[in-house]
Amino acid sequence: MSGNNNITRPQHRQLRFQVLRYDPATPAVPPRMQAYQIEEADGMTLFIALNEIREHLDPTLQFDFVCRAGICGSCAMMINGRPRLACRTLVRDLPDEITLAPLPFFELIKDLSVNTGKWMRGMSERLQTWLHTQEGAPEADIRRIEERMEPELAEQIYELDRCLECGCCVAACGTAQMREDFVGAVGFGKVARFRLDPRDSRTDEDFYELIGDDTGVFGCMSLLACHDVCPKSLPLQTQIAFLRRKMAVMGLKGAS
């Protein structure tokens, strides 16, 4: 027998966390990295790990979790330099040293907590992310049988509708680092979703008004980190490319 069998690996690793701490309410205290060490446990996610740190080591550490099941998008943060949902990140997939930082781009609340909600509401207002009906059209008679839709089309719309507005795509975006007013892949995904929906009365002219400039599709540098980091694996690459083509055509029409 090889001697390797006798080597007993410690059952659980000691995880060393480096967490970015900063409270904008006390600007005199500069941002700093704080170290915490905890023991790994079976099935431990960053949700479990961060709560353990808060329960046992530091009750002041601020972070956001809501569903802790990967469906609400509250807990996006930079995990070893990459934006991910913390709640569904298993520590067993990470090295012993884990560095956590808040998502860049969004307004910092404190420590790992950022105000994605405020930015997303602004995005929704700007892109009008609701179904538009013809002006003056009567409201649907909800006593009557609903409008029909092809099952495949409903599924395609849902595919784009799965966006969580977690902010990972914007945090990973090269353009967003340079211009604050960029609508980001989340915004393009919304436009693509309503553009696909035959119940929405908006035309490509209308969508061009919303995203036909450098704060919209023409600001995208096609680096497509958004596509790589999307926790829901939304087809952002194809949707953005498609929108750019459509909007470029609209732009040319406008120029002629």
Binding site: T60, Q62, I71, S113, M120, T129, W130, E146, R148, D161
Partner: protein
Amino acid sequence: MKTVMTDVLVIGGGLAGLRVAIAARKRGHDAIVLSLVPPKRSHSAAAQGGMQASLANVTKGIGDNEDIHFEDTVRGSDWGADQIVARMFVNTAPKAVRELAAWGIPWSRVRGGDREVIINEQKVMLTERAEAHGLVAQRDFGGTKKWRTCYVSDGTGHAMLFTVSDQAIHHGVTVHERTEALALIHDGERCYGAVVRDLITGELTAYLAKATAITTGGAGRLYRVTTNAVICEGMGHALALETGVAPVGNMEAVQFHPTGIFPAGILVTEGCRGDGGLLRDVNGERFMPHYEPEKKELASRDVVSRRMEEHIRSGNGVPSRFGSHLWLDITLLGRHHIEHNLREVKEICQYFLGIDPCDKWIPVRPAQHYTMGGVRTDHTGQSPWLKGLFAAGEAACWDMHGFNRLGGNSVAETVVAGMIVGEFIADFCDKPENAAPVPLTLAHEFVKREEAKLAAILENNGNESPIRLQMEMQEAMTSHVGIFRQGDALQTGVETLQNLLKRSASMAVSSKSRGANPELVAAYRMRRMLKLALAIAQGAYLRTESRGAHFREDFPQRNDEQWLKRTLAFWPGEDADMPRFEYEALDVMKMELPPGWRGYGAKNYINHPDTERREQEVNAIRAKMEGQSRFAVQEALMPYTHNLPASLTGRNERIDEPLETLK
């Protein structure tokens, strides 16, 4: 003192609250929604499987209508529901689905023609009607006679929440994110709004409104293992309870969902079983047909959860270092079905368990899931004890769920109650006499009181930690007030909670920051959670019968003779250590569906003295009216349409029931 004035103050930014606010806005009233988190992060998003509405589009739903949905709901409730409210609900649910369709929800649709499904382990060919092609589809769920649950893959709640939230933006609903109501402002008769804390700055503001609505969802976090989001701590319930005037109803009715993944408690949808998934034990045996030959895996949730725990107790659980569990097997549904209709389930298994449910079984065990109890309201959603205070959704005891809610009836309730209660709130605000005088002095007193409470926590040098007290409370609730209940254990639970309440006076926090301070938040919520926990535990102790999700091993029978009544819990005052209980009798003589056997679970109950008489009456009315329309018969049994807002009284069209023929 900073003040904010509005017409309608909505506390809670999930589906119910947003729909209430939209209703108010559409009627010309201003509305502010307070939300702990951005509304799209609310727990409504976690509803996976779907919402019940009797559209009868799919083949297995043919013949479905409001009557059958009503009966399923009342049976599910174990006759605890308010039957008038259940009627209002089932008549509005189809309208809600259709409104949401018009707002853009990508409901999964019927494909005309043949399709293969799994029913009771068998592959069955179903033929969907050509005339149903493209209409909203329905899937099977527990405790229902027809396939009635409308769905968007298994992300129904997410799709609904995003669409309704965006509609709220469209309608100009103001949302104040990351704010928390600490107390209702009231004078014992009239509610005027709330004292609200900004969770970022810590600032307190008095929000004053004509109408205040509590739409804060459930209280799952009183338990250690729950499917609920971490924000579901029952704080809306506690707001009402702490007034001392407005009671919470039926708090002992707590639902445990059969399939929380083990041990984390994350939900996998009932749609797994609805679509043909099976429960298996340590030997890989399917065991539910042995206990429930009729409905098997698809009996109501309370029944399936109890049978699972019973099976584990008799030594058939799968042992693990965290305790025993059972298996949910969806492998038989096939990869294509799972990847299209159960994709959230697949992701959850992949990320949290590291398994592919197309090939492997999912470890599951029942976990706390739903709070049937809530702020007791009348059919308009208003508290009869505190004028101007409304509640809707899971936070309310409206009361359509009684002692057990059916799967698919909760997201349905959020939007339906939002529509109905929202109209009544608008009516309330329309009345000149409800333009309440602005009670600034009263508001000031309430703000001062909350400031003093916060200061007392920040200055406390005691030796208790809020986080430790919370863990002890969750442990006590899980061990003593769980699925199986028993007098002695409940008493132990109550004493433990009372002791924790006493100890909570010595809670101290390490950071004295008044702004973003998670420990301070845990501390000021702790006492409220304990009061609510006591309402559950003592309510369960006093209710010496078994009904729906409330199961007493020492009193296994449902006892209609003594317990066909709703529990009301009042909090007597800040120094109290126990709620005061009152009971509200349900009138059998007014029921459309008198109490009987549910059709699943134990056939074990003591009749109410009026039951037989009412049954005879009902039968006589049915016999006399034979040949008349189902609407006329229903109206004769239990008139309810006058209780609905006028805009929602219409009939519901179906393929087999054109609107013009519905008289």
